[in-house]
């Protein structure tokens, strides 16, 4: 593979989305068109799912102005996935979050990002002889066509010091997601209490699918100090947990 990557960046869904391509179409017009298709698709997804746009289907659903049966099919698909995510995480992942003193509010953002990025990456899978790594706000999905090829090298940010990467994940094809403290925007919320989850540390999950890596990372972070033990017990994916004191624990499920 060509050592030089093609790189693209755009601000989408309120976060930077970044693409690295390597191989035949890494730096040519076909690669550029595939990127344009990714951008278009993510813009469409944002129009439907944004919790910041009062006219989005999700906001109208939340306000009771839209019946689920009339909602776009993709909304039902995402809510079905969300229900499965809640089940497999024993309730530690939820898109229905307790509001401040009020009823639960619909916020599928935690699932939509992974779902949308993975879906948009289909445009990149069409590029023959080309590997991709597509990242959105610190979570990513990647593919390598040839098993003998060099894996993508994913750096895991040190939550105590974003100046450092404290781990490297060589990933041929799959997804990697990290949940951590957020100075801005919504915190990871404990779906039971509605309170922001723990302070400090982070949870990184690596697996075949970005969507499920993201779900488990969010659930693990929401779980709090017990995240490492809990994930090792119930999560079928590879996990890296940085505790608030900085200690790192990794776990891989039995093959």
């Amino acid at each position: 593979m060509d050592a030089l990557h093609g790189r693209y960046v755009a601000q989408l869904m309120g976060m930077p989305v970044s693409l690295a391509l390597r191989g035949r179409h890494a730096r040519d017009a076909r690669g550029g068109r595939a990127w344009a298709a990714v951008v278009r698709e993510l813009e469409e997804v944002d129009a439907v799912f944004s919790t910041y746009r009062p006219d989005s289907a999700v906001c109208r659903l939340d306000r009771g102005e839209l019946d689920l049966r009339q909602a776009p099919a993709v909304v039902r698909e995402v809510l079905d996935l969300a229900e499965r995510a809640t089940q497999v995480t024993d309730g530690w992942f939820s898109v229905w979050l307790p509001g401040p003193g009020g009823p639960r509010r619909l916020d599928p953002s935690g699932l939509v990002k992974g779902w949308a990025v993975e879906r948009a990456a289909a445009h990149l899978a069409d590029l023959d002889g080309t590997d991709y790594c597509l990242a959105a706000g610190g979570d990513l999905t990647c593919r390598t066509g040839d098993a003998d090829d060099v894996p993508w090298r994913v750096g895991v940010e040190d939550p105590a010091d974003p100046a450092r990467t404290l781990a490297v994940v060589p990933l041929l094809s799959g997804g990697c997601a990290t949940s951590g403290d957020r100075h801005r925007g919504p915190h990871v919320v404990d779906p039971w209490s509605g309170q922001p989850a723990r302070a400090g540390g982070s949870v990184t999950v690596v697996g075949p699918s970005l969507l499920w890596a993201d779900v488990w990372a969010t659930a693990g972070y929401a779980h709090g100090d017990d995240a490492a033990r809990w994930l090792a017990e119930v999560c079928p994916l590879t996990t890296l947990v940085v505790a608030p004191d900085g200690s790192v624990r990794t776990h891989a499920p039995a093959a």
Partner: protein
């Protein structure tokens, strides 16, 4: 223009290959192994990580890395594309000498209210080191970065690509 001193010594030493495994799920090939830096930090300040979720800012500039790898013995500057973050544009410039980055300048950084400014003051300088660390450990992407820093990182990463580094 804002200049930042570089720290070239902060190389990440990857020491342990902890585990690796394969699984054959639909969609195919999956291989994961995690190597942890032996000197990982012990301090626990709160993180500075990405804003999740879907939000309003969707208009963006897309930049692609231009140029190709050049002569590694000369000194030259490479400018990354302007990357839009929700707090404003970020753009960086590298000086490369003999294949090594000798300086990084932030040509544009978001300026807004004082809160944004604080975050920028905090986020941008340390990311210079982050990127050098990332470069030295040959990282293609970072999982867990801030939104501001991602914009910065990507501009810088694109500049790195342009420089053929």
């Amino acid at each position: 223009m804002r200049r930042i001193v570089l720290f070239l010594s902060g190389t990440v030493t990857v020491v342990t290959l902890l585990f690796g495994y394969h699984t054959s799920t639909a969609g195919g090939l999956y291989q994961a192994a995690v190597a942890v830096d032996s000197s990982s930090s012990t301090a626990a300040t709160s993180g500075n990580t990405a804003t999740g979720g879907t939000s309003s800012g969707s208009a963006g500039t897309s930049g692609s890395a231009g140029g190709s790898g050049g002569d590694s013995s000369s000194t030259r500057t490479v400018t990354g594309p302007t990357v839009q973050t929700q707090w404003g544009p970020v753009q960086v410039q590298l000086t490369v000498s003999g294949g090594t980055i000798t300086d990084v300048s932030v040509l544009q950084h978001p300026s807004g209210n004082s809160m944004d400014q604080q975050i920028n003051d905090y986020a941008l300088p340390i990311l210079v080191q982050s990127t050098l660390d990332a470069q030295s450990s040959q990282v293609d992407m970072v999982s867990g970065a801030t939104v501001t820093s991602m914009g910065y990182l990507q501009s810088l990463q694109a500049a790195l690509d342009s420089a053929g580094i």
